[in-house]
Every structure is written in C-alpha cells, then in structure tokens.
C-alpha cells in the first residue's frame, strides 16, 4: 500500500479533505473499513436478539445516540486542534436549564428561547476558547473548571429543581415530533443528521476546518504563517459550544424538562466516540464520519447489551472489551497500510 502513488491521497482524505476522485473513493473505502467494526457489532446483536433489529429499536438507538453524538461532533473540532473539552457534559445541562429560564421563567417565544439556549452554549465555548487561547490555560484545566462552574450554575439558576416547559408545550416536539408518518422517526434524529452534515462541511470544506487541522498539526508553524491562531481557537471552541447548545436543547426537549443535574461523564463518552472514530487526541488528524461511527458504536453497544438483558454489571465489562478490540483492529489496519 505504501508504494502506491496515491497513498498520499488516502492519507489526506483521512483528514477529511479528499484529494481528487481516486482519493475520495479510497477515503470512503477506508471509512467503510472502520465501519466494519460497527457492522459486525450490529450483526452480532441482530443475531443474538430478535428485538434488536427492529425499526423501533433502531430508532431508539439513534435517539440514544443523538445527544452524545452532537456533543461528539462539536468536540471533534476541539480535539483536532489538540485540545480537549471536559465541559460539554455539564455545559449541555446548563444550556437546557437556560432554555427553561428563557421559555418558562421569562416567557420568551419558542424560537427565541431555543436560539438563546444555543447561543448560550456558544458563550460557554467562547469562555473556554478565551481561557485557552488568551489566558494560555491548558485546555484540560480550563474546561475542567468550566465543567465544575457549569454544573454549579445549572443548580443555582434552576433552584436545584427541574424546570418544566409549561408555557411552551411544543418544546418537547423539537426532539420527539414524529416526522415520518407511520414510523417513530423523531425530529431530533433528523437534527442529529443535519448537524453531522454541517460539521462535515465545516471541517472539510471551509477555512475554519483547514485552520482546525493546521493548528492541531503544528500550532507554531500556523502562527508563523500569519494565521491569527488565538482568534481561530476562540472561534473553534465557540462553534463546539454551539453544538453543546443544540445538544442541551434536544436533551431538555426529550425529557420535556430541564434537569439541572447529570451530564457528568457524558464528556468522556463523547470524547471516547471521537477517539474510537480515529481522531487523534494529539491533534491534526480526524474526521466527522469517524466520530459518527464512534458514536454509533457506543450507542449500539449500550443498547444491544440491554436488549440482550446482560446483567448490568457485565455490561460495562463488555463495552470496555469491545472498545479495546475495535480500536486495536483499527490500529492494525492503519499500521498495515
């Protein structure tokens, strides 16, 4: 493989930037290979339980993957820059609470409340970006602090009680509205898919995505080339925050209530999805398709083990083992190239 003249094309597509048609096909082939783990897992469960491969359950999996998946999409950008964002879990909770504040406490119209909550996510991201880029606080610490602050504020602002969307009963439709007649295919999943497309386009076709890769690959060189690295880092964290806002709105919509707690641990799950999808925590490499596959692997595993009624204590053992195997195979394949 190394000797084929287009090996470089493959490599470049791995980073989401297809180089010509051949490269594009090769890139897709490679993603298909990563896809293989997912397919094997799905096939296994479909074989093991008659309840797994039903339209209804597949929808359930997509619903379950939506919130973490959207978090993972947004945080993929941050991770490609070589950063990390631990605040996405509790940040999402805080955005949900803000939706409750806007809609229920302040009586804003639906669209304004939703927009407000999403922008609030952007604000959290902006603060992270500012702390990382301007104050030079390491991303791990900067976002850990935001994680704690967001968790606290969600409780403070909500008065440690769930906020229900009494004024805007339609709010729950954002996640739950069935958009395909005769099927339980909720709007939230469609939004998830839309977010995938937005993320993929952003990462592979825009200047924003290019600088994301460039900063992650060699921040000093990028700065020396005259790119305003600080500005772009702030933008990247802010965009990731907007994804957090969307996830927060969907999570609250799903539960018809803004729960002021929880969210902790979701950041690890989202980051795991990103890394399982082949994005490197040291930056410079990664793709949206990978993240989507990673998020689906996690969701399918959790769902499948529950459907099979595996005792709960064994479930986490199984998830851990499967993650190890899937990533190991992926490594083998990459080294094999």
């Amino acid at each position: 493989m190394t000797t084929t003249p287009t090996a470089s094309d493959t490599a470049s597509t791995e980073t989401g930037r297809p180089g010509g048609l051949v490269g594009r096909l090769r890139g897709q082939l490679q993603q298909l290979l990563a896809f293989a783990s997912l397919i094997i897992i799905v096939a296994f469960f479909a074989f093991a339980s008659p309840h797994f491969f039903t339209t209804s359950n597949i929808t359930s999996i997509l619903v379950a993957a939506t919130v973490t998946g959207i978090l993972a999409l947004g945080t993929t950008f941050v991770i490609i820059t070589g950063g990390i964002d631990l605040s996405i879990g509790t940040g999402m909770i805080l955005c949900g609470v803000m939706a409750g504040v806007f809609l229920t406490f302040w009586g804003w119209p639906l669209w304004a409340g939703v927009l407000g909550a999403i922008l609030f996510g952007g604000l959290i991201g902006f603060v992270n970006g500012f702390n990382v880029a301007i104050l030079k606080i390491p991303p791990f610490i900067a976002t850990l602090a935001t994680m704690l602050i967001a968790a606290g504020l969600a409780l403070v602002i909500s008065g440690t009680k769930p906020i229900y969307f009494k004024e805007t009963p339609d709010f729950q439709a954002i996640m739950n509205l069935s958009i395909i007649p005769g099927m339980r295919f909720p709007l939230g999943v469609a939004i998830f898919i839309l977010m995938m497309i937005i993320a993929a386009v952003l990462l592979s076709r825009t200047i924003f995505g290019r600088y994301t890769y460039s900063i992650g690959s060699n921040e000093a060189a990028t700065a020396l080339s005259g790119v305003n690295v600080n500005k772009w880092k702030i933008i990247i964290y802010t965009v990731s925050g907007l994804f957090v806002g969307v996830a927060g709105v969907l999570a609250a919509s799903r539960l018809s209530s803004a729960q002021p707690t929880g969210g902790l641990g979701l950041e690890l799950e989202a980051i795991a999805a990103v890394v399982i999808g082949g994005t490197s925590l040291s930056g410079g490499k990664g793709s949206i398709v990978g993240t989507v596959i990673g998020a689906l692997i996690m969701a399918v595993l959790t769902n499948g083990l529950r459907i099979m009624s595996i005792p709960q204590e064994w479930q986490s053992v199984a998830v851990g083992t499967v993650i190890l195997i899937a990533v190991y195979l992926d490594m083998l394949r990459r080294r094999g190239r």
Binding site: P162, G182, L255, Q259, G262, N303, I307, Q312
Partner: protein, 309 residues
C-alpha cells in the same frame, strides 16, 4: 403503532429467553446501592413464586434521568408483558408511559411513585413521612434542643429532596429549639460523605446531631464520628440499612435509623404486575411502609424482615 406490533410480538414470544413465561421489565432508580439490590431481591423472590421472567436495571446515579429514560425505552422495545418503573422524574417519562399505555403494557410504579394516572398501581413508601419520623426520633434523642445538620445523598432526586424536606419541615414545625445549621450533599458516597460530615462538625463544634439520608450518607456520618472520636457525643440518625449501619447501631455509634421495606417493595411490584397481566384488579396504591429501628428492636422479627445486610 410500531410499538404495538412489538408488544404483540413480545406477548407471542413470551418475552426473553424462556418460552412462555410472562416477562416483566423493571426499571428502577438505581442498581448499585444495597437498597436497590434489596428491591431486586424481593422482585426475584416474587418472580420465582409467580413463575415469571424479570429483568432489573437502573441508572448509575439517581441524578441520571436521561439514562433512565433510555433504559425505559429499551425495556419497551423488548416488548414486555408488564413494566415496573420507579421514575426519577415522572414528567420526563411522560411520552414513554404514554407509549406503554398505547401498547397496552401495564405499568406498575414503585418506590416514590409516578406522577401520572397511567400506572395501574403504585407500591411505595412515603419518603417525606419516613424522614419526618427520623426527625422526630432525633429530636427526642437530643432533648428537643440544639444544632443538627443533614448529610443528604442527592440534591435533586425525589428521594433526596423528600428525605431532606421531610426532616427539615418536621423540625421547623414541631421543634422551635432545634436549629438546622447545615445541609450538604455527598452523592451517597461513603468517603465523600465522611469528609463533608467532618467539615460540618469542625465548623459547628456544638453540633448535637447528624442525619444521613441514605445508606452511604449514614455510614459516612458514622465514619466521621469514628475518625473524630466523637462516639457518644454526637447523635447520629440514619436511613436504610446494610451491615455497616446495623453494626453501628449495635456498637452505639448510631442511635437508630429508618428503614423502608425494599424487599417488600420489589415483591409487591412483581406481584401487582402479575395481577395486571392476568387482568385481575389491583389496588391503586400499595403502601409498603417504613420502620424506625434502634438497638432495642433491631433483633425483633418484625425489623429483621425489613432490613438487609
């Protein structure tokens, strides 16, 4: 509509693995704590007795509403004959309960109840009343005067809030000379609860009593008393049971505790589910009760039946 089809399949297939037995999926509020393990034990005993298949699962923490909703969704997708459900947030579960109703799957609520008319019955304890009983006992033990503090397992879940409010409200209404100086939350983690109880004690040297709102919180408080050598000087009142609490009561580190009847809750839940499947009539509420136990009655048959090691 698809859900209905699935449920039908579930009926025909008889749920999980073993052929014709009815299948009851139980989604609780927790799974790792001894309390929930005891509920599970009761449910399993009933399953044995009535010859039904059950599964029992619950989220990692009682703050994780979303995880519970996902578990409930998965349970519905498995097409059970009945569902046992202890809601972390009734409202959040609304759409899924509706889905269960549409699919003609009877729902049995347990523990603190579900705020909805969909469940055919609710097997629960009144947590607030139970906590008030703990407050009453505490007041008597400290002579109706002095400072007390609370170590609560959770700030937002129904059990956490009820067990806090029941205690606080009783004191406010009935004990003018008792001052509640602090309430802190340790997530039910023993070491963390011990550390924060020590901080409360340090900040209030004249503290008379401490109340731990569940097993982990109560044991944490006991541990703090132990580490600070304050046995006998501080009155500790707990909640739930478990070996450590029983030992603490026997050793005099803890004055006593409230226990619910978790085994009974589990048992009654499954029993009611079986009745609902068979189309029998069930009472709208099943009160599983609560009990105060201390050194004096801990060995009685009545208490032995409702506490667990």
């Amino acid at each position: 509509a698809a859900g209905g089809g699935d449920a039908g399949g579930g009926d025909a297939g008889g749920g999980e693995a073993s052929g014709d037995k009815p299948y009851i999926a139980i989604v609780s509020k927790g799974f790792q704590h001894q309390f929930w393990q005891a509920v599970k034990q009761g449910a399993e005993e009933a399953a044995e007795e009535f010859d039904v298949e059950i599964t029992f699962e619950g989220p990692d923490t009682e703050a994780d509403v979303d995880q519970q909703i996902q578990m409930l969704q998965t349970a519905l997708d498995k097409g059970p004959d009945a569902i046992g459900f202890a809601a972390l947030d009734s409202q959040a579960a609304g759409p899924l309960l509706q889905q269960a109703k549409d699919s003609n799957i009877p729902v049995i609520a347990f523990d603190s109840g579900v705020d909805s008319d969909i469940p055919v019955t609710t097997a629960s304890t009144d947590n607030k009343a139970a906590a008030a009983e703990a407050a009453k006992q505490m007041a008597e033990l400290i002579g109706h005067a002095g400072k007390v503090a609370l170590v609560v397992h959770d700030q937002t879940s129904v059990t956490g809030v009820d067990r806090r409010d029941g205690f606080v409200e009783y004191m406010e209404e009935n004990e003018p000379d008792i001052e509640i100086v602090d309430t802190q939350y340790g997530g039910g983690d023993q070491a963390k609860s011990a550390d924060l109880a020590k901080a409360i004690i340090a900040a209030n040297p004249d503290l008379k009593g401490l109340y731990g709102s569940n097993e982990g919180s109560a044991i944490g408080v006991v541990q703090a008393v132990k580490e600070l050598d304050l046995a006998g000087k501080l009155t500790v009142v707990g909640f739930d049971s478990g070996k450590a609490q029983i030992d603490a009561i026997n050793e005099g580190l803890m004055a006593g505790a409230i226990t619910q009847n978790p085994v009974g809750i589990g048992y009654e839940t499954v029993k009611a589910a079986v009745a609902a499947i068979n189309g029998d009539k069930v009472e709208k509420t099943i009160d599983t009760g609560f009990f105060w136990y201390d050194k004096s009655n801990i060995d009685s048959e009545e208490i032995k039946a409702v506490i667990y090691e």
